[in-house]
């Protein structure tokens, strides 16, 4: 069936999950019309980008069990690739592709190197090494001021089609005036959908099955004739390349890139790791849901709490609890609750255990 070809045979295997995925897809597909406004469009773009980013991390963490903290680095490389190219070359699609291409090459080289280092180090030391690498990347990005713009980052313009001032239609469509921002959103939405489906295909390919085998029992996978080194390194590289693409999309949406936008530890821990674990590792649909939940929380928890604090004004204690400054605390509580009650993540909980075959 066509749906199996699109989803690579990886059906949601849960009615609730299927309904949520459908709703999310439709909401994102029509976001500019359903939720007009610059902020909502920004949130929708961010959801698309972080779906790709969290899913790419799942290929590394969930499908091979490698705990790497350097994943945000690849995201940053993608964003810097596009930002540096658009800041230095004549603005155009050519610059975007050169920036993305260069970033993909750098990421691939680094990912292969990390893959080989992982063979020499035990898991804990490897994780610490990736942490050091991530800090190093952050230092490089802030220090190479002439190239990266240092702390301030780089602001640049986009090709005509994506520029804010671009108006493809004279009249509003469905009550919304179409501009370059909305065109950019649809570029991001289309790219994110394609990349997610590509990853879904990869984890359900013969290669993906070997990754699962390695995660289950590395020793036995090797004894069957599979090269663990090759498969792990390739999985790490694919994850890195996907994260790089997500970073490039971020730069296009923000029309800006700097260390805190794409390279910070907050992105690694508060976003990537949180989304993957909350949604459910090793399912790919998990990080997708995780990205939606966490991005929405990041954007709407704080204002929601401000409203609650105002609303409960006069009641003892409650306004303090809902003080918007405490939003991170509540995010933490949310995280702990989800991990405690759904150790296999939201998707693991929805699916229960079902047969992965046929």
């Amino acid at each position: 069936m066509i749906i199996d070809t699109i989803l690579s045979g990886d059906r949601p295997r849960s009615r609730l999950l299927g309904a949520l995925l459908m709703a999310a897809f439709l909401a994102l597909a029509f976001a500019p019309f359903l939720f007009p406004g610059t902020k909502a469009l920004g949130v929708a773009s961010r959801i698309c980008i972080f779906i790709v980013l969290a899913a790419s991390y799942d290929i590394v963490l969930g499908y091979t069990g490698i705990v790497s903290f350097a994943h945000a680095m690849f995201f940053g490389i993608g964003a810097y690739g596009v930002a540096i190219a658009l800041s230095n070359l004549p603005v155009g699609w050519g610059a975007i592709f050169i920036g993305l291409g260069g970033a993909l090459v750098v990421s691939a080289v680094l990912a292969v190197a990390i893959g080989f280092i992982s063979l020499r180090l035990r898991a804990l030391y490897f994780s610490m090494m990736t942490l050091a690498l991530a800090s190093f990347a952050l230092i490089v990005a802030t220090q190479l001021r002439d190239i990266t713009g240092g702390e301030d980052g780089l602001t640049f313009s986009l090709p005509h089609l994506l520029a804010v001032s671009y108006r493809p239609f004279a009249a509003p469509v469905l009550g919304v005036r179409i501009d370059g921002r909305i065109v950019t959103y649809y570029l991001v939405f289309t790219a994110a959908t394609a990349l997610f489906l590509l990853m879904l295909r990869i984890v359900n390919s013969p290669f993906g099955r070997v990754l699962q085998a390695i995660r289950e029992n590395e020793f036995r996978a090797q004894a069957l004739g599979f090269s663990v080194v090759l498969h792990r390194t390739l999985a790490g590289t694919i994850g890195a390349l996907m994260a790089t693409c997500a970073g490039a999309l971020l730069a296009l949406v923000l029309r800006y890139n700097g260390p805190s936008a794409s390279l910070s530890f907050e992105i690694m821990v508060d976003s990537i790791l949180l989304m993957t674990v909350v949604g459910g590792m090793g399912t790919l649909y998990g990080p997708l849901l995780g990205a939606i939940v966490i991005v929405l929380a990041q954007y709407y928890l704080q204002p929601g709490m401000a409203a609650l604090a105002e609303w409960t004004d006069g009641v003892p204690l409650l306004p303090h609890l809902f003080n918007p400054d405490r939003w991170l605390l509540w995010l933490g509580v949310l995280f702990v609750l989800i991990v405690y009650f759904f150790p296999t993540g939201l998707v693991g909980r929805m699916r229960g255990w079902t047969e992965p075959d046929e």
């Binding site: 070809t5 390919s205 013969p206 099955r209 036995r220 996978a221 004894a223 069957l224 004739g225 255990w353």
Partner: protein, 255 residues
């Protein structure tokens, strides 16, 4: 020319020599039983041959080539099949997927990122075939970890069958199996033996089984090869009587 040969194969763990200069050649189409008391080094010898452990000294020659430096996955690809003594499966995957992976390793070994695994019907069909051979067809959709011990042993053997190796290495395949399950496995080993191009190495304690199946018996004691010959001759040797009685005494003690 023997299909498999070890030359002064040795491994030391610290000061302990677990396999000590074992030289032994295996002719294609034969079944060699490897016997010896617990801790004699039989499993370790297998690990050296199939590459799970690196040799401290000596060589492994397979099909005329020195494979001592190759990793286990490359040895498997050349035709060395191994069923492990301690069951070694993919516990959270289905029984069928366990075998399908082994079939994939043989029939679809290239890295394939973009096709759908579930659409490779030929791999699934072949996997079902191997499950039927070990009488596990009815458990195909079960998670491997919930199988009974005996069924796990059978699945372990099915994985090796699915690799269609030239050399089959069975490490106590019937250990811990209930009496009514043992014949399935012995019949299977006998069936493999009928194919004169296949070579079998069998570690087994049950002497009646060994006598029935083996063309030759090799005896390991304390990592050293102490006897090697036709079953009737070897069984009569004093050193074997001693080792064999040692096993019997231990088994009696285990009750």
């Amino acid at each position: 020319m023997p299909i498999l040969e070890t030359r002064a194969l040795t491994i030391r763990f610290g000061g302990h020599v677990a396999v000590n200069a074992v030289s032994c050649a295996f002719e294609a189409g034969t079944l060699t039983a490897i016997v010896g008391p617990n801790g004699a080094g039989k499993t370790t010898f297998f690990n050296l041959v199939s590459g799970q452990l690196p040799a401290s000294d000596g060589q492994v020659i397979f099909k005329g080539e020195d494979i001592t430096a190759l990793g286990p996955h490359l040895r498997t690809r050349r035709g060395l099949g191994r069923a492990f003594q301690l069951t070694n499966l993919f516990p959270n995957l289905t029984v069928l997927e366990n075998v399908r992976l082994a079939v994939q390793a043989r029939l679809h070994p290239r890295v394939d990122l973009f096709s759908m695994a579930a659409r490779h019907r030929e791999l699934l069909d072949a996997a079902h075939g191997y499950l039927d051979r070990v009488s596990l067809g009815h458990r195909a959709r079960t998670r491997a970890s919930v199988l009974s011990h005996g069924d796990q042993r059978k699945l372990e053997v099915a994985l090796m069958l699915a690799l269609e190796p030239d050399v089959f290495m069975f490490d106590e395949p019937t250990a811990g199996m209930s009496v009514d399950e043992v014949p399935v496995l012995l019949d299977l080993i006998e069936a493999i033996k009928q194919d004169t191009s296949k070579t079998i190495l069998l570690v087994e304690h049950k002497m009646d089984v060994v006598r029935r199946l083996a063309d030759r018996i090799v005896v390991l004691v304390n990592g050293t090869l102490v006897a090697d010959g036709k079953p009737a001759e070897v069984v009569a040797l004093p050193v074997v009587q001693e080792a064999y009685l040692g096993i019997r005494r231990k088994e009696a003690a285990h009750g």
